[in-house]
Structures are given as C-alpha cells and as structure tokens.
Amino acid sequence: MSEQPLLTVTIDNITVQVPAGTSILQAARKIGGDVAPPAMCVYSKLEGSGGKCRTCLVEVSKGSEKDPRPMPKLVASCRTNVMDGMEVKNITSPRVTDARAGVVEFLLINHPLDCPICDQAGECHLQDLSYEHGKEGTRYEFQRRTFKQHDLGPYIQLHMTRCILCYRCVYTADQLTNKREHGILDRGDHSEIATLIEKSLENNFIGNVIDVCPVGALTDKTFRFKNRVWFLKPENAHRECPDCCGKVTLWNRGDEVFRVTARKDEWGEVESLADGSTAWICNTCRFEKKKSSDWVIEGPRKISRHSVISQGHYEGKVGTTVPTEIFSAVHGGRNPKLLMDIHSVSEVNRPEIQLSQIAGPSTGNDFTTGKD
C-alpha cells in the first residue's frame, strides 16, 4: 500500500498528525486526556455507529487549510472526518461545554439513577460522563419514564429505563450475528430496545451486546446482583475456543470466577487482536465457563488508575506511569499562576515523598520512615 499523506489537525491547541479518513474523535483520542471528547454512542469497532448521543460535539473553528471558514454548528466529532489544517475546539470552547452540559442533562432526566443497585456501576460510561460534565441537581420535576418489562432470555437482562438509545447493541447484532432479533421499537422518547414478539436472544455472539452497552441497560444475567465490580479482580485469561478467539477478562474474587467479559481498552471498547480483528467472545466463553480450571490465567489486567475498579488492586508497580499533563498545552503554553507553593514555606506535607511511588495502600509508616 502506498504511503498516505498525513493530515495535520489541531485540537485544543495541540497538533496531531493522522491519516485521511480519521474522525475528529479518533484524532483527539490519539492526543488523549481531557482533549478526547466523551462519547456514549460511537464504537469504533462497529460500522455505522455514532452521531446519536451528541456528547462528543465540538466546535470547528477552522474548516481546513483550503477552506478556512468555521463550521456554523457544533459537529459530532465521531462522525466528522478531519481535514488538513483543521482547527477544533473542544474543552477550550464555552459553546461546547455548554452544549455538552445540556446533553448530559438530557441523558439524565429520564435515567433512573439507580446506580446503587445497578450492576454496571463502576464501569458505566454515563456515570463517568455525569461525574465529569453533569450538574449536582436536576431541573426535571416530572415522573421519569418507565417501560413494560421484556425478557430477553436466560443470559441478558434488559433494563430499558437505563437505556440511552445509543444503538450500539443493534449494530452489534447486525454485524456479529447472522440474524438480528432485537431492535428499536416505537419512536421518540418511547422508543425501546425489544424483540417484537417476546423472544430470547440466543445467538452465540449476542452476549457481546453486554460489553458494548455503555450503561446498565443490558447486563449479564449470570452475574446479576452477585458482586460489585470493584470488589472483583480482573485477570486476563484465555482458552482454546472453537468459536471465538477465547481471549477474555475474568472477574474473580478469590478463586471464584464471577463473570467473564471481553477485554476492553481504555475507551471501554473491546480490544483488537494482533491480526486487526476485534476480540469479540462467544456466549459459551462468557456464560458457561465459570471455573478457574476452564481458563489459562495470563495475569492481572491493567485497569485505568482513574477507575474505581483499580482501587482494590495494587499489583505491579502502581503509579509508575504518570498521566500526560495537557493543561499548559491546551492553554497555549500558559501555565496557571500558583498563588503560593505550600512547600516553599512548610515541609509538613513531606514533599520529598512521591505519593504515586508508594506501592499499595499508604500507611503512616510511609511518612515516618526517614524522619527523625
């Protein structure tokens, strides 16, 4: 294949080079950190997804080198491809933050907020989104909408009230199974995920809808109410599976396997394998193989240090990777002025101890050793 020229795109004052056909979102994810817009509906492994939730709206302040006009409306970064010389404003644009706050509010007005009893809590994208961009209160004073319960069979539990209608599960069923049996019924704010006639979803790959669901609308029935994800220990494991790649994450407590999921990357999407295909797993691996003896354990799985799931795990050298600091880059090289560096006047906080270098939970000893 011939070498494709790289396009230069500037997102929040940070310039990155990406091949043609990359979406703004993917380019921003390449930079990482806060510059990457939140995305609830787009799933890079699913063709045609995206554009629906509107959380990833960004402002294009310069269209391209050839046509420098700004785009009049905010655009969905997941479905807008970069042009050479494009300039995008994400967290530096008040319009974007305002629109995003609006979208978060819209997504939450009919969400039951039943996180305390939701199995997705701790790994829920909507939780993260509302934590980062939401308000503490709601202005919505009406009854939240409810739906008639649908039973999707022995494996998948549907909670329609939690659904944000991202369509990811529809695309998954379209693209992974040979016949989609569920879909969106009805229209508007009463549209719902269901099978038209009460049917159980039993395709061998339909379990992947649980992994793609950004909220707790589709959860694993075999794991339902068994445990909280942050009490579990994720481990990479594999087995010889005739149907799928067999590369999974086991969620253990002690020796007991509580659930099996596909391996997810830092954006919550199922990882790609070495050959470029996506590591979807089959229902047998996901729902039937719940003994440690079924699996070859590879080792603990790295979980983002921002995630609540990482709170219980201190394997390896925790904290050796310092997150990239983008603050000054986003502000065009300006660093915020520190009013006073506390360390210049007091050593009571022991500035010489790097908190991120402490292995495991810190104890009083960490701060007394070496002190007179």
Partner: protein, 452 residues
C-alpha cells in the same frame, strides 16, 4: 388577480385524468424537454429560473440538481417528497389530488434532467386516497406513452413508483425518507454524505418537494428567464400557500410573492380577513415549525417596512423579529387564541414525532411538552419560562436533523414575543384555566422599536 402557473387548470372538469389534462395543454413540457433539450440544458433552465425548494428550507433547486454525483454505471434516482405532514401545510395534497398529471409531468422532465430511470413518490400513509389517484394517473400516462420504455421515441426510459409511508412526520426529512424508502426504520442519516452523493441504496439521489417538481413544468414551458421575472428578488415564480386558522376563507392559494402579508390576510381574493370580525393576534407564516409572529411584527418588519409574502421579507429581521417562508402553511390566530396552548400543542406534536435517535431532541421535546402542559394548566412557575428557554436553546442546532430546530423555534419565538402571556398563566392560574385564551392586547397596534 395574481398569476397562476400551477393551479390555473385545477378546476377544469376531468383534469384529474389524462385526456382532459392533455387537451388543456398538458405534457407539452415533456415533449419539449425530451425532443429538443439535453438534460444539462434543463438543469441550466431550472438554475436560471431561480426556483427555490418549496419544502421549507428554500434551497435553490437548480443548485441541488447540479450537485448530484454522476459516477459511471451507478443508477441515479429522483425522489418526490410527498410526505407533507407539517401542521398547517396542505398545499401538496391539493396539488396531487386535483392535478396529479402536473406532478407526473414535472417528475418525467426532472427524471430526464437527472437521469433517473426509477423515480419514486414517497407519499404519507394518511394520504391513502391520493396514492390511488396518483397510481391511476401513472397507469394513464403509461398507457399514453408518457412513461415506460422509450418515452415519445426519445430513447429515455422512466418508471414512477408510488411508495406509501407509514405515518411519520420525520420521514419528510430527506435522509429519513430515503431510509424509509429502503424499507428501514425512518431515522435521519448523519450528513455527510449527502443524498446527492449517497442516497437511496447508496446511489446519488435528489429529493424534491411536490411543488418544486410541479414548478419545473412552467419553467420548461416558458423558459427559466421568463419564470425568474415573476416574483421579486430571489423569490421567483409562484408559491402555493395553504392558509388556515381564524380566517374567513381558508384554503390553498397561489401567489406570485409580490403581495403584502396584510393584503393576503385581508383581501377578498385570498383569506378574506379574520373570521367573526375579530382582530389578528399572531400568525405562523410558514408551517408549524417556523417562529410565530405577533400581529405588529407580521404586517410590518422591525424597520417599519411593509412585510411581503416572500422568502426574504418574511425572514427579515432574523429570528429576533422575523420568521420564515417555510413550507407555506399560513396559520392565523385571532385575539381569542391562547399562545401557550398553541405552543403546547405544537410541542406535543414534535414530541410525538421525534424519531428518538439523538438525545437532545428525544429528551428535550418531551421535557418541553411537560413544562408547557404545566404552564397551560395553571401549575407552572415563573422559573419554568426561563427553563423552557434554556431547553430550546440546547436543542437547537445540536441535533442530527432539523426536527430538533423545528421543535425549538416555535417555543423560542412564543417566549420571545409573548412572554407576558406565559407570565400571566403563572400569575393568574385560575383565570388562565377558566378563560382558556390568552391576552388580547397583541392585536393592538404597538409601537415597534426600530432596530439598530
């Protein structure tokens, strides 16, 4: 007497059928186009005519046609958007019901210009009887050699199919219409790619409104330049206006866009004045999704000039003091109409018709409806008005398709121009509930501050 290009023959006996239509000079444009003109020449004529899309957005039709991609070996399609579901708009229904052959004639010429051998009329399901009328007309045209293979010996083949929708307003949005035509759920697509590049079955497609395609007939007959002389400025040709509400003579009128709004409402030739001797309070000049205007701003612009019935004049002043031509659904409200109730009804419509694909529209329309219901029923709070404003502001422009905007604009305009009526509903809930109409003082002549 205004000039009539489309509806001139609407009342001729038997015009619904081929024989009478042909006798009255119908299908002349097909003969002219197929025998004497090249497809490019037709597109050029339409461009010269300055014809603007009659579906609501007012995008120049010739320009839209010239955007269509022409890859080798890929069929192209023309789709006629007859999914007329905007509250207050019923002009296409009239046209199709009385002059089905005029639409077919326009479709054949346009199909020839765009190279579409399979042309579709997507008609809303509720127009069941019109679909039958159109199918009869297609059969007649085919029997007379105006459709099918080798039309009039020109070597051009064209078939027209009528596709019935299933009753969704959203399917009037062109990409949702295309999805629905393909047999899928009528969700608007994310643009780009635009239909001109990838439309029906990923083929280049042009979607035009019924009236736009019918207007191609006079353009070909009289020539684009002659057509452009009718009307004023960039509003060329004639426009069908479906007038309804509290007027003496509701109906479909063809205007040549040079008359003033005042003349249109009060002259006996058109609406014939406000019914029952009441006074004009407000008007939605272009179908339910365009901003509502109070009487004083409707008849005169903020600059104090007379407002005319054309694209530019109606949108003069932007959304601050103007509105839009839209699809030509002219809804007149007299002094007894309650703006809050009217806005609630519209909000209910948009909530019901939102496709539910993108979150601002799906959640926001329902929220607005609930708040408006509360205001209308005397349970509202002062803060609700600001909340409504905030919600509409965050829907507008942030959605996939224009339905979000269409839902936000009426609410925004109602609050912008009739805020004290909303406040009156909050302060006098008992009164508001009992009277079921709002404040009448908007009908009084008020001094309009000169902008700038």
């Amino acid at each position: 007497m205004g000039m009539k290009l489309l509806l001139e023959k609407a009342h001729v006996e038997g015009i619904r059928h081929f024989e009478a239509y042909r006798r009255e000079g119908g299908y002349r444009s097909v003969e002219k186009a197929l025998k004497e003109m090249s497809p490019e020449a037709i597109v050029e004529e339409v461009k010269k005519s300055g014809l603007r899309g009659r579906g609501g957005a007012g995008f120049p039709a010739g320009m839209k046609w010239s955007f269509i991609a022409k890859p080798e070996g890929v069929p192209r399609h023309l789709v006629c958007n007859a999914d007329e579901s905007e509250p207050g708009t019923f002009k296409d229904r009239y046209l199709m019901e009385f002059l089905p052959h005029l639409l077919l004639e326009g479709l054949i010429v346009s199909s020839y210009a765009l190279g579409s051998h399979a042309t579709y009329i997507y008609i809303r399901g509720e127009y069941a009887w019109i679909a039958t009328i159109l199918e009869t007309a297609i059969a007649e045209a085919k029997a007379n050699g105006m459709l099918g293979n080798n039309i009039l010996g020109s070597g051009f083949d064209c078939e027209i199919y009528v596709h019935r929708g299933a009753g969704a307003y959203i399917c009037g949005e062109e990409t949702a219409l295309i999805e629905s035509l393909e047999g899928k759920r009528g969700n608007p697509r994310i643009k780009p790619p635009f239909p001109a590049i990838q439309g029906v079955w990923m083929r280049p497609t042009v979607v035009n409104n019924v009236e736009t395609l019918a207007a191609v007939v006079p353009i070909i007959n009289m020539g684009g330049e002659e057509y452009a002389k009718i009307g004023v400025g960039k509003s060329t040709g004639t426009k069908l206006i479906s007038a309804c509400g509290n007027i003496n003579k509701p109906g479909v009128y063809e205007i040549d866009m040079t008359i003033s709004v005042e003349e249109f409402i009060y002259s006996d030739e058109y609406c014939g004045g406000i019914a029952n001797g009441k006074r004009l309070k407000a008007c939605i000049p272009g179908g339910s999704s365009v901003p509502i205007l109070p009487a004083n701003l409707l008849l005169k612009t903020a600059k104090g000039e007379t407002r005319f019935m054309n694209y530019e004049s109606l949108s003069d002043g932007g959304f601050a003091s103007g509105s839009m031509m839209g699809s030509g659904g002219f809804i007149v409200l007299d002094e007894d109409q309650c703006i809050v109730k009217n806005t609630y009804t519209l909000a209910r419509f948009y909530r019901h018709e939102s496709c539910g694909q993108c979150s601002p529209c799906r959640e926001g329309t329902g929220w607005m409806e609930k708040i408006l219901w509360r205001l209308e029923n005397g349970e509202g709070k002062e803060t609700d008005i600001d909340l409504l404003w905030d919600i509409q502001r965050r829907i507008e422009g942030n959605t996939i398709c224009p339905l979000g905007d269409a839902a936000a604009w009426p609410v925004a305009a109602a609050i912008r121009h009739f805020r004290d009526e909303f406040e009156w509903h909050v302060r006098e809930p008992q009164e508001a509930k009992r009277r079921n109409y709002g404040l009448a003082h908007y009908a009084d002549p008020i001094h309009v501050p000169v902008a700038g």
